[in-house]
């Protein structure tokens, strides 16, 4: 980054005001060398598989099997094994879908928007955040694909994806659910590409290191995926351009995907769903839940691998601040919904919000409100942001709260719509509960494999923000 060019007049003002020079916090502590960074990050992969990893992997697999069994039971028996029925025809399936897809958004924001905004602190956390994105999208995708019961129909042409088929039918392009199919599948594929493009230089490093150690098999595997990366100038130019383009595309998706997910509700006529605030409300909620999840994952990982010099207190501080901003935005949206319901003067809309707060599901509303609005307020305090045990606990509460947000939106509106004769009460079946519980196992299995097999910190990118890479002192 070149230094800001200042005009003569501006310079005169600056000379007079003498603004204080605020040094940017260092992004790699203890002035670590490039070789140290490589050894530290590659050491995780090259070392022996630690016992804790096997224990976690076994537990995660056991939990994941709940999902496998739950889905197998659903497909073999029918959607009746889940608890939703008239009038609550959408319940945990879409709640869990929105929950997981929301979590994904932080990874994209960190890697794309912060990349375009030249926030250098993103470098050491973006790989993990993007991995989280991909695995969350995978968990999210399970629910819409499997809630149809006859899953094979979901993959046949013409049902979800438009293609000529023997039934002569075509998806309804006026349906927000069809937009969802495109939004989420595009999101998933672009996220994978973005992640992979970022990985290529690091895969080249691993290939070379395993080759030197005489491990031909691993060297060949990493080499295959490194696609002949040599680190030449031309490779770097192409790589940076590809990365920048993907960052541009992904930036749109940070905003568009959850907007379209919110259209699933906003384009309907149900009170409590049919509101224009939904797109920004969903996007900020998604980023909020995602940042909480990034922190939940990063803090233990940082402690276990002793990455304190790479993921510094400053990084955690930045993440906490964004979490605070997003949490406050979400709180604003909660309150604004009441204002709009009052100002709109629609009796059904008004009733919906009173019912949410004080009705049958008020327990869920207050869990949501406490977890999402009260919890982040602790992050105003620097002492809390610097106490990682506290931060970890707070993020767990935010994760819980954001799941309840979707529960409140979806279930309360359906359980109490226009006609009192069609009111009902929804509670989940054990199958739904175990299936959702299992997706945490699916996510953990994928995440554990990721931290075992791939460089969890982008070495090449972190090196580029060290003082050693900036010998002429011109990088901002």
């Amino acid at each position: 980054m070149s230094q800001v060019q200042t005009s003569v007049a501006t310079q005169a003002i600056l000379d007079e005001v003498k603004p204080a020079v605020l040094p940017r916090p260092v992004l790699v502590e203890n002035n670590r060398s490039h070789a140290w960074i490589t050894d530290k990050v590659c050491g995780v992969i090259e070392g022996k598989t630690p016992l804790w990893w096997w224990i976690c992997f076994a537990v995660a697999s056991a939990v994941a099997s709940c999902s496998v069994i739950g889905f197998a039971y659903l497909v073999s028996t029918g959607v009746g094994v889940w608890g939703h029925a008239n009038p609550v025809n959408w319940a945990w399936d879409i709640i869990n879908f929105v929950f997981w897809v929301g979590i994904a958004h932080a990874g994209t924001l960190i890697s794309a928007i912060l990349c375009l905004a030249r926030q250098n602190w993103r470098t050491s956390i973006n790989r993990t955040a993007e991995a989280m994105t991909i695995f969350s999208v995978a968990c999210a995708g399970l629910f819409p694909a499997l809630h149809v019961g006859r899953v094979w129909l979901a993959v046949l042409p013409g049902y979800l994806f438009p293609a000529p088929n023997a039934n002569g039918i075509w998806p309804n392009f006026r349906s927000a659910l069809e937009w969802d199919v495109f939004a989420v599948s595009t999101y998933g594929s672009v996220s994978v590409l973005f992640w992979y493009v970022g990985l290529i230089p690091d895969l080249g490093t691993l290939r070379d290191r395993f080759f030197k150690r005489g491990d031909k098999i691993r060297s060949a595997i990493y080499g295959f995926f490194a696609m002949g990366w040599r680190g030449s100038n031309r490779h770097w130019v192409n790589h940076e351009m590809a990365y920048l383009l993907l960052a541009g595309i992904s930036t749109l998706m940070v905003v568009s995907v959850c907007t379209i997910v919110s259209f699933d509700f906003a384009t309907s006529l149900i009170p409590g769903w049919h509101t224009t605030i939904f797109p920004p409300y969903f996007v900020s909620g998604a980023i909020y839940s995602g940042f909480a999840m990034v922190l939940t994952l990063l803090l233990p990982m940082r402690a276990i691998f002793k990455f304190e010099d790479l993921i510094t207190a400053y990084h955690i501080d930045c993440l906490c601040k964004i979490t605070l901003v997003m949490g406050t935005l979400v709180g604003y949206a909660y309150l604004m919904e009441f204002v709009i319901a009052w100002y709109g003067a629609n009796p059904n809309e008004g009733f919906t919000f009173v019912n949410r707060t004080f009705g049958l599901y008020s327990w869920a509303y207050w869990i949501m409100f406490t977890c999402n609005v009260v919890t982040p307020q602790f992050l105003w305090f620097k002492k809390v942001r610097a106490n990682f045990a506290w931060v970890f606990i707070l993020t767990i509460f935010i994760n819980i709260g954001m799941w309840f947000e979707r529960f409140v939106i979806i279930v309360t509106s359906l359980a109490r719509d226009f006609l009192p004769s069609s009111w009902g009460y929804y509670s989940p079946s054990i199958v739904e509960i175990l299936t959702f519980f299992g997706t945490f196992g699916v996510f953990s299995v994928l995440f554990l494999l990721f931290i075992r097999l791939l460089p969890i910190i982008p070495m090449a990118e972190v090196k580029s923000v060290t003082p050693q890479a900036d010998v002429h002192g011109k990088h901002s």
Binding site: A166, N167, G168, I169, D208, F211, K216, S219, G223, G228
Partner: protein, 218 residues
């Protein structure tokens, strides 16, 4: 690093693409061949217990379809004739033919001839013959030129899109109901005249073929 991958590895991406193309093609062909629903079995021509020739009876002799499939105008189900219908003629003609032994047995015992069903609408589809016949959908539209078949085979795919092709554009197919069993009939003035006449029929008879799911999947 020069000896990690041989030089031929440079061609690998292209080779993988070609390989995937072939595997994908093979998988598509396999699924199309083995997983196509049995109701869409075009060309299915099982060996029947009696080698009855529609080409002889309906084509050469000019028997009307409804002489044997007598309920087609009144019933949702188009019946297969009983042996009595066959015996109307065959008590005089070819009375001793060994090929007709199953028909004579059936006539004597009352047990039906075990004909093998060719055109099978799946159980989840409601199809009514009389409605279609009454509004001028000819036998030939779904069954093909039966009057030219020595051995009857399935001529059309009978998939959902086959049904919808007509339900979405009935004017291309419907004709004067008097001509429904005339399997060789085509509009003498060609296709555009057929469509023009068809549109008139659609309007005059208020033909509204259902396109919603519940029209057929009741």
């Amino acid at each position: 690093m020069s000896n990690l991958f041989p030089k031929s590895a440079n061609k690998l991406p292209l080779q993988i693409l070609v390989y995937l193309f072939f595997v994908g093609g093979l998988a598509t062909a396999g699924i199309t061949y083995y997983a196509t629903n049995s109701y869409a079995n075009v060309g299915y021509a099982p060996v029947q217990p009696v080698p009855f020739s529609h080409a002889l009876h309906a084509g050469q002799l000019g028997l009307d379809c409804r002489y044997c499939h007598s309920n087609v105008e009144k019933s949702g189900h188009a019946n297969v004739p009983t042996a009595q219908t066959c015996m109307n003629c065959h008590n005089q003609i070819k009375v001793d033919s060994p090929l007709l032994a199953p028909v004579r047995d059936s006539y004597a015992s009352g047990d039906p001839v075990p004909w093998i069903k060719i055109h099978q609408a799946p159980d989840y589809v409601y199809f009514n013959h009389s409605v279609h016949v009454a509004r001028g959908v000819s036998c030939v539209s779904c069954h093909g030129a039966i009057n030219q078949m020595d051995v009857v085979h399935q001529d059309k795919s009978l998939t959902m899109s086959f049904c919808l092709d007509c339900h979405r554009a009935p004017e291309k197919f419907i004709r004067d109901p008097k001509l429904v069993t005339n399997l060789d009939w085509k509009h003498p003035e060609g296709e555009s005249a057929q469509v023009e006449q068809g549109k008139k029929f659609v309007h005059d008879w208020n033909v509204k073929p259902p396109q919603s799911c519940s029209g057929c999947h009741r």
